[in-house]
């Protein structure tokens, strides 16, 4: 298995507080890789570094061999990296399907001028995005919420909505930040099953989770 994501001696501190110190890990393609540790250990900070939101003060992050430190998050998304958030970052004033359609953004290529006049290629693109989003919502089990406003959806559904949105970019690697947090036993089982299905399609999964049972059952590697 070739290495998909490699993190070498990464460190970052905020105003004197060392949030991540000298972390190194190597994630092979196609695995479910879990990161565990107590609250405040810097797991989410590490995710923020990998997804381009923070720039580490030291160390290197390589995606398929290319250094990605300092690259903007949207460029990383175009390179096949996608993520969800521990504290939900939902587009609350949009419907569920629109949330997922935003995830199709990097695959939408019509020019702004064509969009101003709603040329046929734009309409075709809108239909394609809608179809892809519908499929993804069904895939994560949210088909009954398709046209619901995100602000009116329950917490557990929003967790899965974030996963659907992240999948919409067609990622090579998906970073899931506590996907089962706040979920009851049935919901956790659903999430577990979902992660399995994502991994089965060949997408690499990097997972932060506190539910040890879940982690033990689905992880290929644990840090």
């Amino acid at each position: 298995m070739s290495t998909l994501l490699e993190i070498k001696n990464v460190s970052i501190s905020f105003g004197g507080v060392q949030a991540v110190r000298d972390v190194s890990l190597s994630i092979p393609e196609g695995v479910v890789f879990s990161i565990i540790g107590p609250n405040g250990a810097g797991k989410t900070t590490l995710f923020n570094i990998i997804s381009g939101l923070y720039v580490p003060q030291a160390g290197a992050v390589k995606l398929r061999g290319a250094d990605i430190v300092g690259k903007r998050p949207d460029l990383l998304a175009r390179n096949g990296l996608s993520r969800t958030f521990q504290n939900l970052q939902i587009f609350t004033q949009m419907s569920a399907i629109e949330n997922v359609m935003v995830g199709r953004h990097i695959h939408e290529r019509t020019s702004t001028v064509a969009q101003l006049f709603s040329l046929p290629n734009v309409l075709r693109e809108n239909r394609a995005s809608r179809a892809a989003a519908t499929k993804l919502l069904t895939y994560v089990g949210l088909e009954k919420y398709i046209d619901s406003m995100a602000s009116a959806m329950p917490y557990g559904a929003l967790k899965r909505l974030e996963i659907a949105r992240a999948l919409a970019t067609d990622p090579k690697i998906i970073l899931l930040d506590e996907p089962a947090a706040g979920c009851n036993a049935t919901e956790t089982a659903d999430v577990e099953q979902l992660i399995r299905r994502i991994a089965d399609t060949g997408v690499t999964v990097l997972l932060i989770e506190h539910d040890m049972k879940l982690i033990m059952r689905i992880s290929d590697r644990i840090l």
Binding site: Q89, I90, M94, T110, E125, N126, T169
Partner: protein, 314 residues
């Protein structure tokens, strides 16, 4: 029912209003007031794309109205460029200016962006006031009426139809943007910039794009205002109070809805016409109405009324 989307409904209503107003209200006064609504409606729609959709504040959008207005004043008078080309020239200049200042200032957030745009509007107004040899100074300048197909466009009625037509086109284009990937990206930025960024939306590029588009809308409105009025001053086009008016149109109508912007504009344009009966109490009542609208209808006039109607129906 699916056929009656807000987009089709709004455009259809707009066409009906534009077509029937001259039949119902046969007086130049009313046509002139409606022309003002159409002109500022155009600017408000553009500003709504920036504020209501992308969530970026502008307290200086009248600056672009000023550029558009003075383009059709200055270009024919001083440069010998005919009025119609001057409209395009103004839009081009506005887009270029928006592109130049947009890069640095759109990085700013909230009130910082507000003060930067405020400063921009102020600078335009000051330039127009002080460069009197070009602009006529604080007293303004007269704008030559353009010639289309050999006829000089000068009557109230002619401008009524032109501005009405342009507003309909502007509305359709705004709906097109809203329903495209750009529109979705803008709304996503409004709700969570971080999430939008991590799914691949180039935040800076999208903000930049909508800023330029909204500047062109404002500029076109300015050109039409100047041409239909025949006379312009810095205060009536680029002044701070103009920017405040545009802001009020968008917020009062309801952020993020294109139809609301047009109705918000109608309220803001009609209010002073109605309030002239209060004579010296005009300011007092205007301020009071603005405060009451925000307190009683925080989501905007149109969404509040719509919710009221829906609430009664169910």
């Amino acid at each position: 029912m699916k056929f009656l989307t807000p987009r089709i409904l709004t455009v259809a209503l707009l066409v009906i209003v534009v077509a029937l107003t001259p039949v119902v209200l046969q007086s130049n006064y009313y046509l002139r007031v409606m022309t003002l609504i159409y002109v500022f409606g155009l600017a408000a729609i553009g500003l709504n794309l920036l504020m209501g959709f992308a969530g970026q504040v502008s307290l200086g959008h009248a600056g672009f109205v000023g550029i558009g207005a003075y383009a059709v004043g200055i270009a024919p008078t001083h440069l010998g460029i005919p009025g119609l080309y001057a409209i395009v020239l103004g839009a081009g200049v506005s887009a270029a200016v928006a592109a130049i200042i947009g890069k640095p200032i759109l990085k700013l957030r909230g009130h910082y962006l507000a003060v930067a745009t405020l400063g921009f509007g102020f600078l335009v107004a000051l330039l127009l006031t002080n460069e009197a040899s070009w602009t006529g100074g604080p007293d303004g300048m007269s704008v030559p009426r353009p010639v289309i197909f050999g006829t000089r466009i000068r009557t109230v009625e002619q401008w009524y139809w032109i501005t009405g037509g342009v507003l309909i086109l502007g509305t359709i284009i705004a709906y097109n943007i809203a329903s495209s990937s750009t529109g979705r990206a803008l709304r996503a930025i409004h709700d969570s910039e971080i999430a939008a960024h991590t799914v691949g939306v180039d935040i800076a590029k999208q903000k930049f794009k909508v800023f330029v588009i909204s500047a062109v809308y404002a500029s076109l409105a300015g050109s039409l205002l100047a041409l239909s009025n025949g006379h312009i001053t810095p205060d009536s086009t680029a002044g701070f109070l103009r920017s405040v008016e545009l802001l009020t149109m968008v917020v009062l109508g309801g952020l993020g809805s294109i139809a609301s912007s047009i109705l918000g504009t109608a309220v803001v344009v009609l209010l002073p016409q109605v309030l002239t009966v209060f004579h010296e109490y005009e300011h007092l009542v205007l301020g009071l109405v603005m405060m009451l609208c925000i307190i009683l209808m925080p989501a905007g006039v149109v969404p509040t009324i719509l919710r009221r109607i829906k609430g009664r129906a169910t």
